[in-house]
Symmetry: C2
Subunit: 356 residues, 2 copies
């Protein structure tokens, strides 16, 4: 499995995903500013991976701070926090990482500066490890839905490249393979930004998973021919009633699955579920610039000049089209994910379990 990011020998090693799949270049970050640049320039993307990168950037920057005491050390960190927070203002995981680090420091304010520096490295590694564990748990709960011999369709990239490892939508695939199941993956190329072609196909090939690339508009015909057994996608934001926002095209995949009676699963770490939003129609959908559609990689023009374009980055799949939402706490019917925030609930009553 490819590592999108790694703490190694006091440095942050980051795969430059913006060049994939044409070039495979790992950047050795010896300075937190390089980590910040990587977040800004999309060398690294995917909410969990960005959170890990931010924590590692903080740990890296902290090592170079000359401080005699806690107060000076905190003052030195401020610049690092601000630099990282300004890279992608809407990426909640950077903020989350900064808050987590601040809390840790507060709880350890009596430690020496050198110990604090160590603690920041440990915390970054812990955040990385925790993310992998969350994904492995998603993988475990999800793998039960994949039978030996199945072909799994996925859309966009919710793979190890978007996380600390294992991915979310790909975790059940990796775990199923670890369980000895022989499976195939079909990756939608995912226009306009082609994350499926550039990232998912690449990382699955690197991991030795049999993967076949298709254009987004081939999925329906393949389902009709019985060549797809289930679909698993990731999510950018899932809301309280089980509606799921994800990359544009996800909704169409869900409708096609429904038509062909193919199960449609969403892999959603708890961190991606926003229980404060009641229904999917309340999720703001970002419309992005026309050039993503009219030009490939910003250079290769495929459409007339000045053509009008609708470029919705995401769509919302209603809960009724979703067979199960797979979290690290179990797989649930979409209507049951609200149980995850209820107190005194025996989740086992709501978990979907196959073959027990």
């Amino acid at each position: 499995m490819v590592n999108a990011i790694e703490w190694k020998d006091g440095k942050v090693i980051m795969l430059d995903q913006s060049r994939l799949p044409v070039e495979v270049i790992f950047i050795e970050c010896t300075d937190y500013n390089i980590v910040a640049e990587g977040i800004k320039k999309l060398w690294i993307r995917g909410a969990p991976a960005i959170g890990i990168a931010a924590a590692m950037g903080i740990a890296l920057g902290a090592q170079d701070i000359t401080a005699k005491n806690f107060k000076e050390f905190i003052a030195g960190l401020d610049q690092i926090f601000n630099t990282l927070l300004s890279t992608r203002p809407t990426a909640v995981n950077i903020k989350w990482a900064v808050e987590r680090v601040k809390k840790l420091l507060k709880a350890n304010k009596d430690e020496s500066v050198s110990r604090l520096k160590e603690l920041l490295i440990e915390e970054a590694q812990k955040i990385h490890k925790e993310d992998i564990e969350v994904n492995k748990a998603i993988g475990k709960w999800g793998a039960q839905f994949i039978k030996d011999g199945d072909t799994v369709l996925t859309h966009c990239n919710a793979g190890s490249l978007a996380t600390g490892g294992y991915g979310t939508a790909t975790a059940p695939i990796f775990v199923a393979i670890e369980q000895g199941k022989k499976i195939q993956v079909i990756a939608d190329e995912t226009r306009p930004v082609l994350q499926g072609a550039r990232l998912t196909a690449w990382e699955l090939m690197e991991a030795g998973v049999p993967v076949t690339l298709i254009t987004d508009n081939s999925a329906g015909a393949l389902m009709k021919k019985g060549r797809i057994n289930l679909a698993i996608v990731g999510t950018d934001r899932t809301v309280k009633n089980g509606d799921v926002a994800n990359k544009i095209g996800t909704y169409s995949v869900s409708v096609l699955c429904k038509e062909h009676k193919i199960p449609f699963y969403v892999a959603a770490p708890l961190s991606s579920i926003d229980f404060s939003i009641p229904t999917g129609d309340k999720i703001p959908i970002e419309e992005r610039n026309a050039e993503e559609v009219t030009h490939i990689f910003g250079t290769c023009r495929i459409a007339p000049e000045n053509v009008k374009v609708i470029n919705m980055a995401f769509d919302v799949t209603p809960a009724k089209n979703i067979t199960a939402i797979i979290t690290e706490k179990g797989a649930f019917k979409p209507k049951d994910i609200r149980k995850l925030i209820k107190k005194d609930v025996n989740l086992d009553e709501y978990r979907i379990k196959i073959g027990e």
Copy 2:
């Protein structure tokens, strides 16, 4: 409306569609070999347009034949026939044009060579005119389904560029506009070869029709938002039971239309209906090379080297997903198109008519 091909001042003027939309170049063909090159190199494509090009190529080549009598003239034409027939061996319309010309010559074998040369020009122009009339008739029968204010989704290019003019799927759009209806078109970009982005969006903009380009995987989300009122597509081959083969992705559009209760129409000139094939599952589906998917315009690589690809050029939409098939003889329920070959049938009993 753009002319893909035209007979003008003794020459064939052909738009080089292979360079669209980046360059708009009309080729002045003064030699039938240039016409043949144009067919071969996809300067011109679309079954009706290729038939017209072949007839015009024959007429053009015929003018340069030095022959004293009918026999010498026919001998001279043979080379032209063979050159044109070898350009795209599976294009039935070239064969059709050659047969039609041969029949005409046979019926006029007592005419002078100079008169025969004139007749060939007249025949080419007649073929061109007949095609436009077929399309206008499709337009007339189809326009009744488009209401003032509607937004029409189309897939691939079955526009004037693929025909002598008006197109097939676009004819109802052009006629509706001639009737004074204010309408919008949404064009699927149509991966992998992007005929929607490169050709449909371009020709509709040229014709002053309001058109918006989307990625193929946006259609479902737009339907869910109520932004598409109907879909009209063309067809490569329609069979006796009303099943329709068309560009990959057409089937998915039909399923999405069904889910959203949006009418789904197919514009099918009689020449594209193959009554010898009973059902859609008997239509051979061409699988094309992986490079169409992995490289844009053969140069811009978007996927890992050696990735496995499924690239089905077409899919089959079952009759049950189709609201009506629009031919030059009327619009019919898919199950009723077989009436078109029955003798002593009053087609009016089967024609779908709205608002009469």
